[in-house]
């Protein structure tokens, strides 16, 4: 017995180091930063991307946008589910919010109603997935069409246009920064404090800390992992798997709602193409960050690193003129494949006794 224990401890130490789901993405982030630092140095654009505020803004704000969606994507993937409709829901939220403002609804109430609408949408999606047993890939694919379709249909019907401008109502930054209201302070901070980044960057940081705590340190987090790892075993031990999954779909649609509202607040308009393809970028970030599509494994911190990897590669390519832009997609594809392989290898190491 004693000798057996020693062996477990030895293996355990090694496993502890490599069993963190985000490990692969930490290496990935370091490699991508070094790569682009070298490439921009060669192109003479190093300071444009890494020093000047406008260059930093470009990739940090993209990382925040994709990262907020990736939080929802990774939570769902850990619970063994999937949401393809996130990007479309950003547009639905933005259009709903803008339409309510144009109808004369006070801004506070419009925000509240939009959040209720999107949370209810998440409840519907989650309930369909849980009750019918259809794969969430299929169910959310339906909403990938339906949400954006509904957004454009509503704005065409009521306003006779597909892009909705609300500049006359909310005075977005930088023009509206002189006399910020409470709502400006919450949803468009750069207008209030003259901070270098858009509001989503701060939401991203706060959300990552909060959700990481929720996932690793609370009962709810334990239930999320169990629901994805082995739903039958989870139910047998008293975990309300169906409710956990429905609540996660509601979180996913609410995060899309937050981005929809932030985009309208900072740009003064709602675009029907808002969030287009961002669901795939968010899922890529979650996969790079170590989430397993089979469920039960992953981390939101890894997904955050994944979002930064995506954003640096995506924006960085513009600073490197000697590499073709289209080559970026090839790189990104290889990056996703490589990460998935690495993560699968690491996960197998954890499972083998």
């Amino acid at each position: 017995m004693a000798s057996r224990d020693e062996r477990i401890r030895e293996v355990g130490f090694f496993k502890n180091a490599i069993s963190r789901p985000e490990l692969g993405s930490v290496f990935g982030l370091i490699i991508i930063i070094i790569t682009f630092m070298i490439l921009t140095s060669l192109s003479g654009t190093f300071s444009a991307m890494w020093v000047r505020p406008i260059g930093i803004q470009a990739w940090v704000e993209l990382a925040a946008f994709v990262g907020i969606l990736a939080i929802g994507a990774s939570l769902l993937m850990i619970a063994g589910e999937f949401d393809l409709s996130m990007g479309a829901n950003v547009a639905l939220a933005g259009h709903s919010f803008a339409l309510l403002l144009l109808f004369g609804v006070p801004i506070e109430l419009a925000i509240l109603l939009t959040f209720i609408e999107l949370a209810f949408l998440g409840f519907i999606i989650g309930t369909i997935v849980v009750r019918t047993g259809l794969p969430s890939f299929i169910v959310t694919l339906a909403f990938w069409f339906a949400s954006r379709g509904l957004a454009v249909f509503l704005s065409q019907t009521f306003m006779n246009q597909s892009r909705l401008s609300v500049k006359s109502i909310i005075k977005p930054p930088p023009g509206g920064g002189e006399d910020p209201t409470l709502i400006d302070n919450i949803f468009a901070f750069d207008s209030a404090f003259g901070l270098p980044f858009d509001a989503e960057v701060y939401y991203f940081i706060i959300l990552i800390i909060f959700i990481a705590y929720l996932l690793h340190r609370t009962q709810y987090g334990n239930w999320i992992y169990a629901s994805g790892g082995d739903p039958v075993a989870a139910r047998a031990t008293g975990v309300p798997v169906a409710n956990v999954k429905i609540s996660l779909f509601m979180i996913s649609t609410s995060l899309a709602c937050l981005l929809g509202i932030l985009t309208v607040m900072t740009s003064g308009a709602s675009d029907p193409k808002a969030g287009d393809f961002r669901e795939l970028h968010a899922i890529a970030a979650a996969v790079i960050g170590g989430c397993a599509l089979t469920g039960g494994y992953g981390s939101v911190v890894g997904a955050a690193f994944g979002a930064f990897i995506f954003a640096i590669a995506s924006r960085g390519i513009n600073f490197v003129p000697f590499i073709d832009n289209n080559l970026f997609r090839v790189m990104l594809g290889l990056l996703i494949l490589g990460s998935a392989l690495l993560n699968q290898y690491l996960r197998d190491r954890v499972l083998k006794g």
Binding site: M1, I8, D230, V232, G296
Partner: protein
């Protein structure tokens, strides 16, 4: 010896199929009752009656002398029936502690109280002879026998007075089977738990059983204590009485 669970002429039907007919046997505290029978003998139905999945159509089940009717598996668990199924209901990628407390976590405020949960897990596992060096390890790193012990230990900690073990050794290698048998005998030594040990293995049944019940085609073929049962006849009883003799004759002919 105090009787813990008593089956009194229990029957269960599914439509016109008689799954169990007039089953009577008694399980005592601090004893291991080996429940033996071939596939299709009604063992699974019996377990499901005990664990609250089904309720009997005839007869009654007495728990500590009082007749009980379980409305649901949850109801059975809160009455003190702990069932350890073959698949163990464990999460391979989650830690020992997280598995031990899954669904019944201890929190301090909003946060999980890992210090308390780790200590309880270590203490409870040590009672059954497993020294958990690091309870934050994923159980993927544990042996099959240790996982079995974890599932048993969890059931006992959360109040099982009757422990049902559904073929706990069938999916394991020889060495790990012995580990589990040791664990079961340690549970017996705790003294206050009645163990129902379901198995295919007559060696294991002989080794651990204080009392035996043989099921065949929905009926109790024989039941009794070690002294009352002809141990040399064990294998024949398990294979379904004189059916084996018949086969022997057929093969000879």
């Amino acid at each position: 010896m105090e009787p813990s669970i008593k089956f009194n002429k229990v029957s269960k039907f599914f439509g016109n199929i008689i799954a169990l007919k007039h089953i009577s046997f008694t399980v005592y505290k601090g004893e291991i009752t080996a429940l033996l029978g071939d596939n299709g003998s009604g063992k699974s139905t019996l377990i499901k009656l005990l664990s609250g999945v089904y309720s009997p159509d005839e007869g009654e089940i007495l728990l500590d002398g009082k007749p009980v009717k379980f409305k649901s598996p949850r109801d059975a668990v809160s009455s003190g029936i702990g069932t350890v199924y073959q698949d163990l209901a464990l999460q391979p990628l989650m830690s020992v502690t997280r598995n031990f407390f899954l669904g019944r976590e201890i929190s301090k405020g909003l946060s999980l109280d890992f210090q308390t949960m780790d200590n309880i897990t270590k203490t409870e596992m040590a009672k059954l002879g497993i020294d958990v060096a690091d309870p934050s390890q994923p159980i993927g790193t544990m042996s099959g026998g240790q996982r079995q012990t974890l599932a048993i230990s969890r059931a006992i900690y959360f109040g099982a007075k009757v422990l049902i073990l559904d073929e706990p050794t069938s999916a394991l290698g020889q060495k790990q089977q012995l580990e589990v048998l040791k664990t079961i005998s340690k549970v017996k030594k705790l003294g206050n738990i009645a163990i129902i040990f379901i198995t295919h293995n007559d060696m294991h049944a002989k080794l651990l059983g204080d009392r035996f019940a043989f099921l065949n085609r929905g009926k109790v073929l024989a039941s009794g204590s070690k002294k009352e049962i002809d141990m040399s006849n064990l294998r024949t009883l398990m294979a379904g009485g004189d059916e084996l003799a018949k086969l022997e004759n057929e093969l000879k002919a």
